[in-house]
Amino acid sequence: MYHNYDAVVIGGGGAGLMSAIQLSPKGSTAVLSKLHPMRSHTGAAQGGIGAALGNLEEDLWEWHMFDTVKGGDYLVDQDAAEIMAQDAIEAVYDLEHWGLPFDRTADGKIAQRPFGGHTRDYGKGIVRRACYAADRTGHMILQTLYQRAIRNRVDFFDEFQVVDICIEGGACHGVVAYEIATGELHTFRAKAVIVATGGFGRMFRVTSNAYSFTGDGQAMVYRKGLPLEDMEFFQFHPTGIRKMGILITEAVRGEGGILVNGQGERFMERYSPNLLDLAPRDVVSRAIHKEVLAGRGIDGKEYVHLDASHLGRDVVATKLPDIQDFCRTYLGIDPAVDPIPVEPTAHYAMGGIPTDVDGQVLADETNRPVPGFYAAGECACVSVHGANRLGSNSLLELMVFGRRAGRHMAEHIVQTDFLELKTGPEERMREELDRLLAGTGSENAAGLRKELREVMMNKVGVLREQKTLDEAVEAVRELKDRYRNVGLQDKGRTFNMELLVALELGYLLDLAEVTALSAAARHESRGAHTREDYPDRDDENWLKHTLAFRTDGGVTLKYKPVNVSFFEPKPRTY
């Protein structure tokens, strides 16, 4: 089946919906999501969205920009950080005007709370910058955007899995999508396409990420010969529920919660004397890891305690109600009374599809844009997070760059015509899907995925070294070989989730290879990428972005410079 739309948005989360809201008054807009948009992972974000509103104390966007650059260990493109910190304020007010039910201050303004790495006056102390709605800020953002998109009469194609992006003659002019309910393939011709498909934390054993976070957009782009940027930088959030990985928001520490080791010590005093428990996530995750390795985990085990029991029942019940609910449901404890057992959980991809500040996808190390092709949100790399993202900057990135990309696309669609599609872009995909469906191979997708998650967790985790990274690359390649022999039991066309899970596994394997290889090549420690064999940051050789291209021989790595036009890189202490 054929469809014509001025613009196609792949993904119904924060970035996708925000771009659709910008686009819909200017041209016909379709949002294609493999889930119903309300199931998107933006809804799982908890603690807040950063913006220097200064509602409770003085705050400046310049300070926010600085914190973002330093938090990213100076791998941040500073022109992008400048735009994000500046646009943040307007973006948050937009959300409020569209109905977002922020918590309120005593004088009726948007409430703000402290978050890790956010400081006043260039690092002098903690500042309240994260705007929040209890501990379900992401849920409220997703709801508000979806409501607004309905009001704008955006066309939704729910449970449509995009399986191919049509790029010909160096420009993008449509997508092919698989309708999950029927097994039918659809071709969407479009003047502009944006990828907003989220992250890929599902390649790690312990993760806060939804099952759907399998990097589909990044992998499809990579398979088109376009690069992926800085894939070695993957954030482990310090406080996931032990073993399950379920996110316990940084807002617990923002509200005053502290981390305690097996000896009852507030160990962050040793690692971050200034910001303590509100140091950036990479610092805290490393600290937990080191405590555990030194035998100072709880009962000598692999976790520590996050203690919020001194905050009082009222604060927990009103500011952190979902956290209380998760703890009761999954741990049988009440965080207003008992400490929460936590360990670092794979949380966020700093790397992704390289874009400029208007969301245009960049094709190479010279930053050549691909006309009509955009990306925003976690799947993109602008790069505002550099080597480590600050908490509350991801929801912000969705809003700021989803908006900018949508606006740029809106201009693009009035200036261009539809390109003629070559015949049958569906046919190639039909063949590939039929081949997967017909597969009688002996390999089981669930088993392969489990092996992949073990490899990535154990060898490409918080602390890394050459030997284990090289082993990870080899192990992933072996899994890729075995993946060719995957067999499916479900041969049907109706809601065949087994087929989709197999496709997703293929995407994850490609991205795992790129992640491990990019990490193996970077011989320094920066942000979330910690090398035990190269413990220091090396600006002389490594102040540069990695670009990974898919080539016949496997993966080719190239590099491009970082924009450091405002803040000179300095040693990063907190």
């Binding site: 007010y93 922020f102 759907s212 997708a445």
Partner: protein
């Protein structure tokens, strides 16, 4: 431990009518029912169809009937339910396959109540002011994740699928009592219609079913009051 599940299956490509199938899988007592279902799907029977995403109760994908009550499979622990765990799709929506129902009739009713802020005044340069007390009036109904557990547990909805259902009423409540919204009267008119708020017989199934612990019946009561006294 081993866990026994009894699952209602239906594949429109193969079956004329639904049938039951039993499975036994290894699980920890603290595992989610969702874990057990995915263990089946991954290692025993790849043809089993279900929706899932976040796996911790915030996305609303995996609402289903577990031992005859609407639950999120990701928020129900194996140790808390009797075996064999009886699993069925939500009641009152057309089944697409196995545990996957067609949600469109549900979302159609959601859209009827104008589920978005209506206010065409020029906004201030910063935020609209709203007191903590004003914000608290609709806090409970902002928690809704549109999982459909409430609506598909409602006997009034089962007997009359035209009824807007509790979830739509929750969405309407969320805007009617928001000081920034200007369409309360319009929404109340919609809810005052034959298939609107008066179909609620205060049976409380929705409150029992809601995985977000929203006091839905209370919210519906506030809507009824607003209609009767023309105050909101």
């Amino acid at each position: 431990m081993d866990v026994k599940l009894r699952i209602k299956r239906f594949d429109p490509e193969r079956d004329d009518k639904p049938h039951w199938q039993e499975y036994t899988v290894p699980a920890e007592p603290t595992d989610r029912v969702l874990d057990a279902l995915l263990q089946i799907k991954g290692y025993q029977d790849g043809t089993l169809a279900l929706r899932r995403s976040c796996a911790h109760g915030v996305c609303g994908s995996c609402a289903m009937r577990i031992n005859h009550l609407n639950r999120l499979a990701c928020k129900t622990l194996v140790k808390d339910v009797k075996q064999p765990i009886v699993i069925e799709p939500l009641k009152g929506l057309p089944v697409i396959k196995d545990l996957v129902v067609d949600m469109e009739p549900f979302f159609e009713k959601f859209r009827i109540v104008k589920p978005f802020l209506v206010n065409d005044e020029t906004p201030p340069p910063t935020e609209w002011r709203q007191s903590i007390e004003e914000r608290a009036r609709f806090d409970d109904t902002t928690k809704c994740i549109l999982c459909a557990s409430c609506t598909t547990s409602c006997p009034s909805f089962w007997t009359n699928s035209e009824y807007l259902g509790p979830a739509s009423l929750v969405q309407a409540h969320r805007f009617i009592f928001d000081t920034r919204d200007r369409a309360a009267a319009e929404r109340l008119d919609i809810l005052n219609a034959r298939e609107g708020v008066w179909r609620c017989r205060t049976i409380f199934n929705c409150v029992e079913a809601c995985p977000r612990e929203i006091n839905i019946t209370k919210a519906i009561g506030q809507i009824k009051k607003a209609l009767v006294y023309n105050r909101f």
